[in-house]
Symmetry: C2
Subunit: 333 residues, 2 copies
DNA sequence: CCAATAGTGTCTATAAGACAGTATTGT
DNA sequence: ACAATACTGTCTTATAGACACTATTGG
């Protein structure tokens, strides 16, 4: 809470007004922790989901990939503003591009040893971006790049949280079950799908993928480890993204101003990692009021290998989808 | 992110190992912010939803009600652990009672001026508790008590976010709309109910209430203002709670070990603030696998004014409900 | 007895999913 | 020509919600 003041200098038992009290207040009397924001920025490139990462120039984890982010300027900016600022700084994107980015808070992470240097609490943010130009890499990062999520080493996740949900008895899976105080950093996903026994880091990523989204084959480069606890943050962000596009029209945030239903379907297939029935998807999108609205125009050309020109749509004004577009196979009904 | 180290003392450009680097590291070089946890603890008492509040003993907001919480012990505990510790401390509940409490992270709040004394970032937690004994009030709070949420002044809420949410001009309501960088502290509600055109604040408090849940009538005491930004945090917590019981069996966390379907229905009616059809609710609960399982026993006596003895159930092993129990009237379908 | 309640059955409207079918395009 | 694609229609099944109905209890 803001202000229990357990260790504050209480001046005068009852006398004095607040201004005098505040003037005599020494913030250093409070235990302070470094607070950062980290951004899980997602985008679609070539039909595959990518996350924005920076290569660390400093210790620890020098040379490793990490989420873009940085310190919150104490007292000068809100958490939201800090996240927006860091995203802009580290990507070098201009305001015009950032305008089209959806940014929302994901959750906070504060394990005591998550940063070997000192206690650091990070407030993670999740961003949905349309296909942006190559990132620039600012700050002290040596590089910034959009990395396919399929290349990441996302411990016990790729197949775990994505499409099954045996409520068995797993590490964090059942912590919030019936009894016991339990933490759950994300808590956002409506149908998150936890999972079975704790395979610490089983290699197999069994996420079915759309053809374009090349899963890392046997010849693929080794999965990229992430610095700090960023693998978990990315995993939580992906969970949130998968859940969020079910109930909100945010999938359109991955696309340009105008798009076809097929392109929108591509977003869902990439984020969910499973192919969707084109016909049924089409009907469902159009049946959700306010999801999309026709522009009247049609695409310049048909599909890659033929077909009629698709109608173009833009994002509607709905904030929530009703009925929702439920992800198939998230839990066996 | 944890560890950009922009202002860190970089010892040696490339030489040295991490341990030497860490030894020379001075955490004070980093901008530090006070980090607290605040808990929105909800319970049901007499058919009405209550939130645990403490009366502030210190400045500012002395004498006002606030959320229980306190500083995170930097480097010694995780955020989850801090929340559990503070909840125990401030309520004086023993481990046996805390065992049955569900605790999950709600979101972080870091407006620069949210605490007049200094920059404070708070990580809010949401707790679901069965009817607990009267709170004790520890720490520097002069008192702790379970307060009916209907007595709180929850800005633009009681009628705003509960069953409608004009994205119009309200504080954070439309910030996450289609374009622009935007924050959204909660982001959890699957169907939070946004909605059409921005009717700013039409008077009608359209939340239907179950008979017991006395809405503050004309003779009711004045609504309780909360310290800091705690009104918003509570509001976000209620939103989360309303959304969460749709997709998870967490409503059982408000009840004892064994309960009847009618008692479970009471939880939903109290949290959602609208009466439910008894027959349909009954069938839906039993049709969701793993939601509840029969104990074989029956209640000691029938309803308050007659009726057969109800069967008793305990919480099942499902982590998610399928099909979900959708809240009626969240958005006009 | 009477009113309230627990629990079940029935009916309708809606939605999901599987599938078929038609028209339009690129190769 | 052929294959792929956009889009629409149809059928089956599952679910939500409204309502009726029976049985059982407390007052």
């Amino acid at each position: 809470m803001a202000g229990k003041g357990r260790r504050a200098k209480e001046i005068g038992a009852d006398g004095g007004d607040d201004s005098a009290f505040l003037a005599a207040y020494d913030p250093r009397d409070f235990p302070a922790i470094a607070v950062t924001v980290d951004i899980v920025a997602l985008t679609l490139r070539g039909g595959a989901l990518h996350v924005l990462l920076v290569e660390r120039g400093g210790r620890p984890y020098r040379g490793a990939w990490a989420l873009p982010g940085g310190f919150v300027r104490a007292g000068q900016e809100s958490l939201d503003a800090a996240a927006a600022r860091e995203l802009a700084e580290e990507t070098g994107l201009d305001a015009a591009h950032l305008e089209r980015v959806h940014l929302e808070q994901l959750g906070s992470y504060g394990e005591p040893a998550r940063d070997p240097r000192m206690p650091v609490v990070t407030v993670a943010y999740l961003a949905f971006a349309p296909d942006l130009p190559e990132a620039r890499g600012g700050g002290d990062a040596t590089a910034a790049a959009w990395i396919p999520v399929s290349r990441l080493a996302l411990a016990a996740h790729q197949d775990g949280r994505t499409d099954r949900t045996p409520p068995g008895g797993s590490a964090a899976g059942d912590r919030d079950r019936t009894a016991g105080i339990s933490g759950e950093p994300d808590a956002a996903r409506p149908r998150p799908s936890e999972q079975g026994p704790g395979h610490g880091t089983d290699g197999g990523d069994s996420v079915p993928r759309t053809p374009d989204d090349a899963a890392p084959g046997p010849d693929a480069p080794a999965p990229l480890p992430l610095a700090f606890d960023h693998a978990r943050i990315v995993a939580d962000g992906l969970d949130r993204a998968r859940a969020k596009i079910e109930y909100t029209p945010l999938a359109t945030a991955f696309l340009g101003e105008e798009f076809t239903i097929a392109e929108l379907r591509g977003v869902y297939e990439s984020v969910w990692g499973s192919p969707l029935h084109a016909g049924n998807f089409h009907r469902k999108v159009l049946s959700a009021p306010g999801f999309v609205e026709p522009t009247g125009a049609t695409a310049a050309r048909g599909g890659a290998r033929g077909g009629p020109r698709a109608r173009l749509y833009r994002a509607g004004d709905a904030a929530l989808l009703h009925p929702a577009l439920l992800c198939p196979d998230r839990d066996g009904s």
